[in-house]
Symmetry: C2
Subunit: 313 residues, 2 copies
């Protein structure tokens, strides 16, 4: 059993990860600035003796060093980030600070304290728009088109040298769209909110053909925990996801079904990109992670359905 730090621990994915690690008997310190994370997300285990929540800014190197020392941390899951790509388009400083500077602070605090085990949540956005190409972990010419993708690729860059220079064992998963209980933004969340305001009409950004793979958060968290306890020295990178994908139009249909709405008029804003910086479609080559025997429990449509069933509407 280990003493584990999760940054972004009150967030959508971080809170599920904390729950899973506690269930396995580990001690978990969760750091979150509660900008996007919420106390409700860890309510079910807030009083667990092996759980500590610290409201703190993960860009503070000295503060993170202090958290690691004071709690005898042995392993770090760094999930703190701005998870809302669309939001930072008008203010790139959000991703500079919340997505990149958090990574630097975590790495520097680990270097100073000698902690060697790291998991990092990266993203398909590091590749940029490479439509028509099955994305492999070693695909070259990475050219992110969003500030979020840039900040995650910049994080991977610093992780590379920190891992080499300090003998760290690092696991990086490049996440696709991840959905499930506690979701706080994204297309499913937006559609529900819009239909609650106006159940007759639904504005859909783009032409509805944008098509992405959706991974269920509990499948992801299982994989994070399984793989992270099997790392070796160096950096291992995996694309993680599902082979299937779901169009935005199909998501709209499923959301309407879930809300019991019929005859909703869809209004498409047109074009095949939801917003500038969005990658409208991508497909991973998953052969690297499949070679380990792993496979997600839900395909893309099933992930959407399970998410809709989990939400209290």
């Amino acid at each position: 059993m280990e003493r584990i730090l999760i940054t972004g621990g009150a967030g959508f994915i971080g809170s599920h990860l904390a729950e899973k690690l506690l269930a396995q008997g580990h001690t978990v310190v969760s750091v979150d600035d509660l900008a996007l994370g919420r106390r409700e997300n860890f309510r079910s285990y807030a009083n667990d003796d092996r759980f500590t929540f610290i409201e703190a800014d993960a860009t503070d190197v000295d503060g993170m060093e202090q958290v690691i020392r004071a709690n005898g941390i042995e392993r770090v899951y760094h999930l703190a980030a701005n998870s809302d790509i669309q939001k930072s388009a008008a203010d790139p400083g959000i991703d500079y600070k919340n997505t990149f500077a958090t990574t630097y602070a975590v790495l520097e605090a680990m270097r100073r304290t000698g902690v060697k085990k790291l998991f990092f949540s990266s993203t398909s956005a590091v590749y940029g728009d490479k439509r028509g190409q099955a994305l492999r972990e070693d695909t070259g010419g990475l050219a992110p088109i969003s500030y979020y993708g840039s900040a995650k690729l910049a994080s991977e860059a610093f992780i590379s040298a920190y891992s080499y220079m300090n003998g760290m064992q690092t696991l990086i998963f490049r996440f696709p769209n991840v959905i499930g209980p506690r979701l706080t933004h994204g297309v499913i969340f937006d559609f529900i909110r819009k239909l609650q305001v106006d159940p007759k009409h639904l504005e859909i950004l783009g032409d509805g053909t944008q098509c992405k793979p959706y991974l269920y958060v509990l499948d992801l968290v299982d994989a994070i925990v399984d793989f992270s306890f099997r790392t070796r020295e160096g950096v291992e990178i995996y694309n993680i996801g599902v082979d299937t994908a779901t169009t935005v139009r199909k998501i709209a249909d499923m959301v309407c079904d879930r809300l019991g709405l019929t005859d909703v008029e869809y209004r498409f804003t047109g074009g095949n990109v939801g917003w500038k910086g969005d990658v409208p479609a991508f497909q991973y080559d998953l052969s690297r992670i499949y070679a380990t025997g792993w496979c997600a429990g839900h395909n893309s449509d099933e992930s959407v359905r399970a998410t809709l069933e989990s939400l209290e509407i």
Copy 2:
């Protein structure tokens, strides 16, 4: 004729670049914090009416925005960086701040002011240690092993999204070792300094077989100016260098010749790496830049010789 900003303008390469741009009739504003840059480097044109030197920290976003607005800047050459890889091994914050945060500040200041034309000095260190592979611009699995390489790759990552989101015209050269007049560090500089202290013995890090291509700074500066006035929207990346390479041992021999020393005893520290984070050998695939018709004026050995001849010893 344009109004041009050079960050790191008092440095080894930046000061040559300013000189060339002034000679072509442009107006040049040079920003440097004088941490590594030196006033002597721009002494010959310090009084030129079209030249302005501003001592400032290029990590200050508001300050850089102010410099751009006050001087009507139309084009930026971003060369400010920690150029001493070895130094930051013990303090990664040096590269975080001087190599990466400068890039972010320049990009953000350009976004706020609408300046679209950018040249960025990247490096072979972004690739990491890929011995036995000819490095192409689209080689995948970039894994820098130095904090310097990380900070340059992180810079490229942010440049990618900033260029896409703001319609910028960006040229990136990935530099090899660059040498010539005004050199302030590196193996040639170190050998001269050591032999001035003790002309009988020379300590050589590693086993002397480390072999790298050396590019002459005036060849590089000519290429930067030629290529940067022919950019289109988007990001163009070129490896730049020479096909030939020079071993550390040969450099030692040439330095001894230049100093008129004979019978110097070489003491090798052993191993084939000079220091942790050093990439002991690499070879570019230069076909992309050669396809434009460009070729360096000096090969690797000639660059070393021309550098030695230029130094006042």
